[in-house]
Amino acid sequence: MPPSTRIPPLLQPSINLPRDDSLLLLTSTLGASANWLIIRFLCNALSDSSTRDGGEEGPNVVLVSWMREYEFWKQEARKGAGLDLERLRREGSFAFVDGLSGTGSEAIGNGIIGNEGKRAQVAGLKDARTPPISLTRAPPTLPVRGPPGRVVPARGPPAPATPAQRDPTASSVVVEPASANQSVPGHYTLKTLELAHLKTTISSAVSSLTTSTPKRRTLIVLDNPDLLLALDPTITPSAFTSLILSLHTLPTVSHVLTHLQSDTPLLSLSTPPQPLEIAHHNLLVQCAHMSRRILGVRVLDTGVARDVSGVVRVTEQKVDWLELGFENEGKEVEESGKGREFLYQIKGDGSVRVFDRGAGGDG
């Protein structure tokens, strides 16, 4: 099926990557997951039938996911966008970096290890990395993990509530052992939570793609990196944003799409503010400041509706450092200067209907 039918026409301008290199931000809440939107981005970038204005090919994609495993994305992409990620990966235009199963594979593999086990796991990782420092630092940091402890059980294990509603198979997928994936090209697994390791892994993923097709640019999609903040309190938001920027400076990378959670409990500060709240808030705000376009997905303000899954809001910041531009004379500015909001509904077969407020009918 051609991509135009997969991507709702109203969203097409928002999903098309901006012409110049830039950063994008995607936010979602627990009730309204943004996986479908990421899939649409993948679809727009990877579908080979897309002929762009410049006759240019679509970019390569590196998907880094901390929340879901490859199987989930493969199925979602096939169902929602008609993409065969397996084939694309073999062709060298798609790479997947698994952020979750490698770092916590034992804890998840054993299945029923609770929160304490997870903590011990994280602490163990830190110990292995820098034994003398972390030993001395462990006691003061443990109480600091109060908020992560609250958050991790909801987000840490594979397949939280949201995908299970739409994709029951995802929850039953067994996470493969990390070692089995090593031989597959285009599939990488993160083994520690360290940012340096993350950076080298992503860079090697990016470079492996570009060698196969030299001319194409690369889009990096970071799915839920905010999990890192919760798992390792030593990672600061600014360290993470500088990581995003240094990924953006890799020669072939043109766009970086970051997906963060924007749930109120994570953003609005309680008194006294918890460290994780501050970190998450700052990460989101800073990413938003850096990004050219912000797409926010949330549930309907007025409550649950049968025929509306949620609201997607697109706001854009036109001026940036690259152009220092003047106002383009003409209509283009007029229509895209303001943010827009649409309602969307995800159907059972993975397709998405996007419509203006009040134009829904009873589809």
Binding site: S238, T264, P275, R298
Partner: protein, 321 residues
């Protein structure tokens, strides 16, 4: 304001720009940079949040693992061969929080040694981290405000209009974006108004006397500038187009405010209580029974007179006309 915008020497050695997600400072910065470049001033950007720049701008990328001293050295190197420079820091929060660069040292370097201008942006919606060690030290933002010779707060034009309308009706001022309290909203719809941005500026004279004024900076157009001389990326400014906010037609105009008021006056309900033209016509066309009764011999004894419309479904068993 014009002096600050045009980077006149000694106008303001340290300008602090406060912005948030609802109105980013970048249109103002763009204006500053354009004017600086048009006067052949060396522009140095210390960047924490961007990677791609206009070719005429010198960039010191400060993200990553550089230490504070290293950044200062890079800035010095970038300014070394120029007579006059404009140094822009795109996130003072980052500069002070993660790299521990002392703003005093930076200001000393830029303003004293090179007699240049320092412009710093601080995002107001960033939350300063809590530190048990120096809990009683002033927050960095307070320090910046104290040091700055000009403080400019950026606001979205649409929000300023909404605030004004609320004030005229003695209502609470509306909140936007993250403050709105709705789950999942990061940026509000009319953030970064493309018409221009509102600048609340406070200038501090040498004598210590502060002067506050509110300005409106509309989006720049190509026609505001002369043709660039060869070798320079931007031409010089033809005529100043920063105005006082009160002089902006859309702000003083009663019509705009009236529109906002009218919107607020509408009854809030889930039903649409208005009538379309077609509905109005149909309503006027209805002949009420008493009109018929006044005619001639006094009607036909209480029959209901009704003309079937196109949308009526005639049922033989129930309807008789």
């Amino acid at each position: 304001m014009s002096r600050v915008l045009n980077i006149r020497t000694n106008a303001s050695p340290f300008t602090l720009i406060l912005d948030d997600l609802n109105q980013r400072a970048i249109p103002l910065i763009g204006e500053l940079v354009r004017r600086a470049l048009s006067r052949n001033v060396n522009v140095v950007v210390v960047s924490f949040e961007a990677t791609r720049f206009h070719p005429a701008v010198r960039n010191v990328s400060a993200y990553g693992d550089q230490s504070g001293d290293q950044i200062l050295q890079d800035i010095r190197k970038a300014m070394d061969d120029a007579k006059e420079s404009l140094v822009i820091v795109d996130s003072l929060y980052e500069l002070s929080n993660t790299n521990n660069v002392d703003v005093g040292a930076l200001l000393n370097l830029v303003a004293m040694e090179f007699a240049s201008t320092l412009v710093g942006i601080y995002h107001q919606d960033m939350v300063p981290s809590q530190d048990a060690q120096n809990e009683y030290a002033p927050q960095p933002l307070e320090l910046f405000k104290y040091t700055a010779t000009t403080v400019i707060t950026c606001k979205s034009f649409a929000h300023v209009l909404a605030t004004k309308a609320a004030k005229q009706r003695s209502l609470a001022e509306p909140t936007h974006g993250l403050l709105q309290g709705a789950e999942g909203i990061v940026q509000c719809l009319d953030a970064n108004d493309h018409r221009g941005i509102v600048l609340e500026a406070e200038f501090r004279r040498k004598s210590g006397r502060p002067e506050s004024e509110t300005y409106f900076l509309r989006t720049a157009r190509q026609s505001d500038y002369h043709m660039p001389i060869s070798g320079l990326p931007f031409g010089t400014l033809k005529q100043e187009f920063v105005t006082l906010l009160d002089q902006v037609p859309a702000y003083g105009n009663q019509e705009v405010i009236g529109l906002i008021n009218a919107e607020a006056n509408d009854i809030e309900s889930t039903f649409n209580l208005g009538l379309t033209d077609k509905q109005k016509q149909a309503r006027e066309g209805v002949v009420l029974p008493y009109f018929d009764a006044q005619k001639g011999e006094g009607g036909e004894g209480g029959r209901i007179l009704y003309d079937m419309g196109a949308e009526d479904d005639f049922d033989e068993e129930e309807d008789e006309i």
